[in-house]
Amino acid sequence: MAIFSKGGSRDKETEASEGPESLPVSGDQVASSTGPQHKPSIISEGFSFVGEVNATGSLSVEGKLSGTVNLSALNISATGAVDGIVNSAVINVKGRLSGTVSCGDLIIGGRATVSGKITYKKLTIQKGGVIMGEIKQLPTG
């Protein structure tokens, strides 16, 4: 029976381990993505965008975005900031949002700040979240 030295065994073992060990990790990721239209666009940290955004999909903002925004889903992460006229079916805020906001579901996280003229259908604010300005509820349906 041959006993491999450390150097000799490494090549074979890495090749063999890649198959079974990587399977459970990738399995979790695949479950959430169902099609290309669900891929979110991302404005990453340190990226600043000024202008108009129109999309039927979702956008994650980790950087800065100001202007007119029309989306179906907007996610503002803790480092993200959005300012301007925002229309979106769902807005999830963990960072900052200001301006004229019109949305269906508005979810404000515990460290988020939302200010301005806000119109919503459903509102959730986690403890510690901040909302300021003129707030109005639209009838749901």
Binding site: L123, T124, K127, G129, G133, I135
Partner: protein, 130 residues
């Protein structure tokens, strides 16, 4: 309601009851009926059947029913899923459950030690009663 066992300094407006006037409540005010007027309390609980129209000042406010006109929550404001707050709102800390309603001019304030009713000493039952 089990949370109103301590009755000293408390106000309870039962379902079907309508009261009007200005109220100063050192401890907890629980409203299950209709209250019209100004109320200042340490804590205000508005039950699902409760309705307040007027100005409310309190440290802690729990809303399961409806509150109209104006509210100052000097510490925490909780709006549950059945609750709605409409009017001028000032709060230090806020939490809203999904489907809770918040409408009007909303402002976050820093906590101020004001002239309002101070909370009473915690109620401790004397041991010889047991």
């Amino acid at each position: 309601m089990s949370d109103t066992v301590v009755q000293s300094g408390c106000l309870f407006v039962g379902e079907g009851v309508t009261v009007k006037g200005n109220f100063s409540v050192p401890n907890i005010a629980t409203v299950a009926g209709i209250l019209e007027g100004d109320i200042s309390a340490h804590q205000v609980n508005i039950s699902e059947t409760g309705f307040i129209k007027g100005s409310v000042r309190a440290e802690v406010v729990h809303v399961l029913g409806e509150l109209h006109d104006s509210l100052v929550a000097n510490k925490s404001l909780f709006i549950r899923s059945t609750g709605s707050v409409i009017g001028d709102v000032k709060y230090v800390e806020i939490e809203i459950e999904k489907n809770g309603v918040l409408q009007g001019q909303i402002e976050k304030i820093n906590r101020v030690e004001s002239e309002q009713a101070q909370p009473m000493e915690p109620f401790t039952p004397t041991p010889d009663e047991v």
